[in-house]
C-alpha cells in the first residue's frame, strides 16, 4: 500500500465510537502523528482518554484549521478567529474535556484557544464570582478571608 492511497486514519474514542479522519487532520495532533509514524500498518488508533462527544469536537477544530489556508490576509485571519469564537460557545463541561483532550493529543492551537477562553472567563471577576463559576469551595474561615482581603485591597480594589 503506497502512502498516497493511505489518506484516512481510523480513531476510536474511549466509548468505542469510531471516526474516520483524513490523515492531515489527524496529524494536527502530535500524539496521533507519532502513533502513525511508529506504526503505519493502518490499524485503528485508540484514543482512550477522550470520549466520542469530545473527540468529534476536536476533529471539527482540526478539520477547520487544516482546511483554512495559512495566509497573511487580515480578513482571513479575522474570519478564522471569528470561527474560533463561535466554536468556543460550549458548556463548561465540554470546555474542560476539550482542554484535557487538547493536552493529551498535543494540539497546540486548540490548547491555546481553550486555555485563553478559561482565562478570559476568570479575568475581572470577584472571588465570589470565580467560586460560583467553577464550583470551588471557600475553605477560608471568615476571619482568614477578612484578613486576606484587607491585606490585598490596595492592590486590586
Amino acid at each position: 500500500m503506497s502512502t498516497e492511497e493511505r489518506r484516512i486514519v481510523v480513531l476510536r474514542s474511549s466509548d468505542e465510537e469510531i471516526f474516520e479522519v483524513d490523515i492531515d487532520v489527524a496529524s494536527e495532533s502530535q500524539t496521533i502523528k507519532h502513533s502513525i509514524e511508529d506504526d503505519d500498518s493502518g490499524r485503528v488508533i485508540p484514543v482512550p482518554n477522550v470520549d466520542g462527544h469530545t473527540l468529534a469536537k476536536v476533529i471539527e477544530y482540526c478539520k477547520k484549521h487544516v482546511e483554512t489556508p495559512k495566509s497573511d490576509d487580515r480578513d482571513a485571519q479575522d474570519a478564522l478567529r471569528a470561527w474560533d469564537t463561535e466554536y468556543m460557545k460550549i458548556d463548561q463541561n465540554t470546555l474542560f474535556e476539550l482542554i484535557l483532550a487538547a493536552n493529551y493529543l498535543n494540539i497546540k492551537g486548540l490548547l491555546d484557544l481553550t486555555c485563553q477562553t478559561v482565562a478570559d472567563m476568570i479575568k475581572g471577576k470577584s472571588p465570589e464570582e470565580i467560586r460560583a463559576m467553577f464550583n470551588i469551595k471557600n475553605d477560608f474561615t471568615p476571619q482568614e478571608e477578612e484578613d486576606i482581603r484587607k491585606e490585598n485591597q490596595w492592590a486590586f480594589e
Binding site: 482565562a119 464550583n135 471557600n138 480594589e157
Partner: protein, 391 residues
C-alpha cells in the same frame, strides 16, 4: 498524567500544567483576586513552577510609593503612602510596609520589588528588599551605612534564576567625597553589592564632581544607573563595566527660565522631562559621552490646559511666575517611567499618560503628608508576585 491536583471544583479536573498555563495568561490583579478564592488556589499562585513561568512577564505600572523627605535637614520621615492608579474613590493607602521589622526609608523600586533602608537611628542599619504584594522580604548587610549616600537597586526578573537559589539583584551605593582642602577635588565613589556574592565591593572607578546628588533616587536604564546632581548634570554609572561620567541635561537654566526637571526610564533608555514656559518637553538620551539628547515629545502649556481645562487653569501665566519662587513651583515633574509622568500642579498630584494624552488626578498633597512639598521620594511601581526570600 496527573488528573487532579486541586480540590477546586471543576478546575480540579485539570492537571497542574494546564492550570499554570491558564494562570499565566492573567494579569497580576486577577491573580491576587484568585489567591483569595481558596487555599488551594492561594498555594498555586505562589507555587515555584508557576513563578518560573510568571517571572518572564512585564507588568504595567499601576501605582506609586510616596515618602516625604525634609529638604534642609537629614532626619528621616517614617510615614509612606501608596497611590493607586486608575481607580475611583479611595486611592491613597498608608504604611503598606509595616510587615518589615523596623521603620524604613524608601530608596528604589525595580520590577515590582522595593528597596529600602532602616530609618536612622537604628541598632543595626540594614537594607531591605521586599515585595509589598506577598509581604516577602530579605535583609541585606549594609557594611557602610550612611543616610546621606544614595543607593540604587537593579533587579531583572528575566535573568536566569534557579529557583533554589535566592533572588538575583545588584545594589550600588554612591558616596560623595568632599575635598578636605581647596586643592582636593570632590568626587563620587561607588560600592557595588551583588546578591550571589553577598558582599560589598568598592569599585576602582570614581567620578569627579563638585556637586552632590540632589534627589537620591537612581534611574536604571539600559544597564546603567543615573542620578541627578545639584548642577545641570546627571551622574551615570555603568554597572557591568564600572565606568562613570557626567552628562549635561538638555535644557540648562538661564536667568529667567529655570525649568523643573526629572529623569526616568522608558523603553530601556534614559529620558528627561523638563517643565518651563516652553511647555512639557520629554528628551531621550541618545549618546552618553556626548550628552546628546533628542527631543522626543512635547506639549505647550496652552495645549495642555485646553485639553484638561477641568483641572488646569491659567497654567502658562503661573508657570512663568514660578521662576520667582523657586521653592514652590506651580508645576513640576515628580517622576517619569514608561511614558507615565507624575506631575505636581499647585497642591495636587496628577498622572499624565504621554502617549494617550490622558490626565488623571491622583490626590492632593495634603493626603500624603505635611512635608510632601519638599523633595519627596516618588517611586513608580508595578505589581508583582515574585518571591524574595528563598522558597
Amino acid at each position: 498524567m496527573k488528573r487532579s491536583c486541586l480540590n477546586e471544583g471543576v478546575l480540579g479536573l485539570l492537571n497542574k500544567d494546564i492550570v499554570i498555563d491558564v494562570l499565566s495568561r492573567l494579569p497580576v490583579k486577577t491573580l491576587i483576586r484568585l489567591s483569595c478564592v481558596s487555599k488551594g488556589l492561594r498555594r498555586l499562585v505562589s507555587d515555584p513552577d508557576f513563578i518560573l513561568v510568571y517571572m518572564k512577564r512585564m507588568e504595567p505600572i499601576s501605582g506609586l510609593f510616596f515618602q516625604e523627605r525634609f529638604r534642609l535637614c537629614d532626619d528621616d520621615i517614617e510615614r509612606h503612602s501608596y497611590v493607586q492608579f486608575g481607580v475611583q474613590g479611595a486611592k491613597v493607602h498608608q504604611m503598606l510596609l509595616d510587615f518589615l521589622p523596623e521603620k524604613v526609608v524608601l530608596l528604589a523600586t525595580s520590577n515590582g520589588l522595593l528597596c529600602c533602608r532602616s530609618c536612622m537611628p537604628s541598632p543595626i542599619p540594614s537594607i531591605y528588599i521586599c515585595n509589598p504584594v506577598n509581604k516577602d522580604w530579605i535583609r541585606v548587610n549594609w557594611d557602610a551605612p550612611n543616610k546621606k549616600d544614595s543607593i540604587a537597586f537593579a533587579f531583572d526578573p528575566a535573568s536566569p534564576r534557579d529557583m533554589k537559589t535566592s533572588l538575583y539583584f545588584e545594589l550600588v551605593q554612591v558616596h560623595h567625597h568632599v575635598g578636605r582642602c581647596e586643592t582636593d577635588d570632590a568626587y563620587f565613589s561607588f560600592h557595588i553589592y551583588s546578591s550571589p556574592s553577598r558582599a560589598w565591593v568598592k569599585s576602582t572607578e570614581i567620578c569627579r564632581c563638585e556637586y552632590k546628588l540632589c534627589k537620591n533616587r537612581a534611574t536604571f536604564a539600559g544597564g546603567c544607573l543615573y542620578w541627578m546632581t545639584e548642577s545641570d548634570q546627571v551622574l551615570m554609572f555603568d554597572v557591568k563595566n564600572e565606568l562613570s561620567c557626567l552628562i549635561s541635561l538638555p535644557l540648562p537654566a538661564t536667568e529667567d527660565n529655570v525649568p523643573e526637571k526629572c529623569i526616568g526610564e522608558s523603553s530601556g533608555k534614559l529620558h528627561c522631562v523638563t517643565i518651563s514656559q516652553d511647555g512639557v518637553v520629554v528628551w531621550v538620551l541618545e549618546e552618553h559621552y556626548e550628552s546628546r539628547w533628542v527631543l522626543t515629545w512635547s506639549i505647550t502649556l496652552e495645549t495642555l490646559e485646553e485639553e484638561n481645562n477641568r483641572y488646569l487653569y491659567n497654567l502658562a501665566e503661573r508657570v512663568e511666575k514660578q521662576s520667582i519662587d523657586v521653592f514652590f513651583p506651580w508645576m513640576k515633574p515628580l517622576a517619569f517611567e514608561d511614558g507615565l509622568l507624575v506631575l505636581l500642579v499647585s497642591l495636587d498630584v496628577y498622572l499624565y499618560h504621554i502617549h494617550d494624552k490622558k490626565l488623571e488626578k491622583l490626590c492632593s498633597l495634603a493626603e500624603l503628608g505635611r512635608h510632601s512639598m519638599m523633595g519627596p521620594t516618588v517611586l513608580l511601581h508595578s505589581l508583582s508576585l515574585v518571591p524574595v526570600s528563598q522558597p
